[in-house]
Amino acid sequence: MSFNVHAIKAIYKFELHRFGRTLMTSLFVPAITTSLYFIVFGSAIGSRMTEVDGIPYGAFIVPGLIMLSMFTESISNASFGIYMPKFTGTIYELHSAPVSPLESVIAFVGAAATKSMFIGLLILATAHLFVDMPIAHPIAMIGFMLLIAISFCLFGFILGIWAQSFEQLSVIPMLIVTPMTFLGGAFYSVHMLPEPWKTITLFNPVVYLISGFRWTFFGKGDVAMGISLTFVAGMLAVCLTVVWWMFKTGYRLKK
């Protein structure tokens, strides 16, 4: 048994089952939230707004909305997935099982990323009900979504291992990720900002993620696609390194 495929399958299935149990909150809530954003920003305010970079405002905000939901859902699902066993004590079983760190990560992060993809695609489908949504590079769009899902699920996984209370679990998404997303051009183009805010905003990594995703829809973003991809790759690399280190040292996992 050089690779425990059965364990990966078992965890993956178990995690998806857990999501299935909370289908109402996990799928319908993002769909409803997105619809609300469209009503408020797209219809009420958007109708009074000019086009942004030649794109109708209603369509312009879709990539940002998808990213916003995917960031928060990825982090919360993946962090809960590993935090709950720690909290209830069932993690003993994972520790005592012949499962390597890599296999754990593939299973937990894979399951959470699967759910994030569902949510992203669901929001996209919901958006289609409200606005005309061109997709310039469909394959790149799916690929980018996947990279974001995996990166943020990895980040959530790290958060779940690090957290020692429910408060810590929610503090990072609420206090850091959501504000960074709002300030990262989810609802506006960075070019619309006056200096010095424009320059300051460029230090926010989320800008590059949203811009890259927007590029896959409209063929243009706030920054070059290459820079966006570099940021995603960088985040993925950092998260992988941290996870590897956590398992190697048993950080907050083993006594």
Partner: protein, 316 residues
């Protein structure tokens, strides 16, 4: 017989500085039931956790079924089944799902027939579709056992399996343990209940303050450390032990109605027959005689409370 578990010089010091285990050496033979006895905080759970891979040892090596638990963790962990002391289960899952998850985690392909057999053996089959949180404490404990057995382990750890469990479930559980052993599994259990170890175990290890004070075959242990007490129920009460009986270590009990004589069961001459003969000579009548053997509990208490050196000396 080959030893399925071999522990060599295993120690554990927690980050807090607490030395949970000294240097433990232990071998467990394939197919036996081994009981680890010890008071709370003695290090029983720490030792088990190290063997199962939940806690990293500070020093020493552990070999399970011929493989090192670190280099060969895939093999050793799939060989072991663990029923932990605390009831930690996926509360919102169905019984059958959580048991199936365990089987997969331990690298075994799906086998519905086997899962059904375990659930039936543990009287859980009717509850298979119930959520774990809906079950009683005893039922949850059964779920934990079903999870541990789901991947057909050769070595089963039961950490305080009957703590907080009612008499009936306890009996069922022990029947199951015997059945598992008959099927060739090796079982290591920890317990507070000495009668349990006395009933079940082939060998007993006593652990106290992180040290394995002794490891002994159960009957040998009882014999070696066993003392018997002879109670002589007198026809008439006496106020003091007569001078004529000074050769025996006697005590007067129950307001002079009973003579108590403590003797060593494996001494050449226990002194019992001579004592009875002398009673006859002195004309002391008695109504009844009975002897009482010290239990494992008495032995245990005397070991754990005795200074370490004496305890080791007695065991040797």
């Amino acid at each position: 017989m080959a030893s399925i578990l071999s522990v060599r010089g295993v120690s554990k010091r927690y980050a807090s500085g607490h030395q949970a285990l000294g240097e433990i050496d232990l071998d467990v033979e394939e197919g036996e039931i081994f009981a680890l006895l010890g008071p709370n905080g003695a290090g029983k759970t720490t030792l088990i956790s190290i063997i199962c891979g939940i806690v990293n040892a500070s020093g020493g090596t552990v070999t399970v079924d011929g493989h090192d638990i670190i280099r060969g963790y895939r093999h050793t962990r799939s060989t072991i089944g663990l029923v932990p002391q605390e009831l930690a289960t996926d509360m919102f899952e169905r019984v059958i799902d959580t048991v199936s998850l365990s089987r997969g985690l331990f690298g075994k392909p799906r086998n519905d027939a086997y899962i059904e057999k375990i659930l039936r053996d543990l009287s859980l089959w009717d509850k298979r579709a119930a959520k774990v949180q809906e079950l009683s404490g005893g039922m949850k404990r059964r779920v934990m056992i079903a999870k541990a057995l789901s991947h057909e382990p050769k070595l089963l750890f039961l950490d305080e399996p009957t703590a907080g469990v009612d008499v009936e479930l306890r009996r069922d559980m022990w029947a199951l343990v015997r059945q598992l052993r008959d099927n060739g599994a090796t079982i290591i259990l920890t317990t507070h209940y000495i009668e349990e170890a006395e009933d079940m175990a082939d060998r007993i290890g006593v652990i106290s303050k992180g040290e394995l004070v002794l490891v002994e075959e159960k009957h040998a242990l009882m014999k070696k450390l066993g003392r018997k007490v002879l109670h002589v129920r007198l026809s008439e009460a006496m106020s003091a032990v007569p001078a004529g009986l000074a050769d025996w270590k006697l005590a007067l009990r129950d307001e002079g109605h009973e003579l108590e004589y403590e003797f060593d069961t494996h001494a050449e001459d226990t002194g019992v027959s001579a004592l009875l003969a002398r009673l006859g000579e002195l004309g002391i009548g008695y109504k009844d005689l009975n002897t009482e053997e010290s239990s494992l509990e008495d032995i245990f208490v005397s070991l754990v409370h005795a200074p370490k050196s004496t305890a080791k000396g007695e065991a040797a």
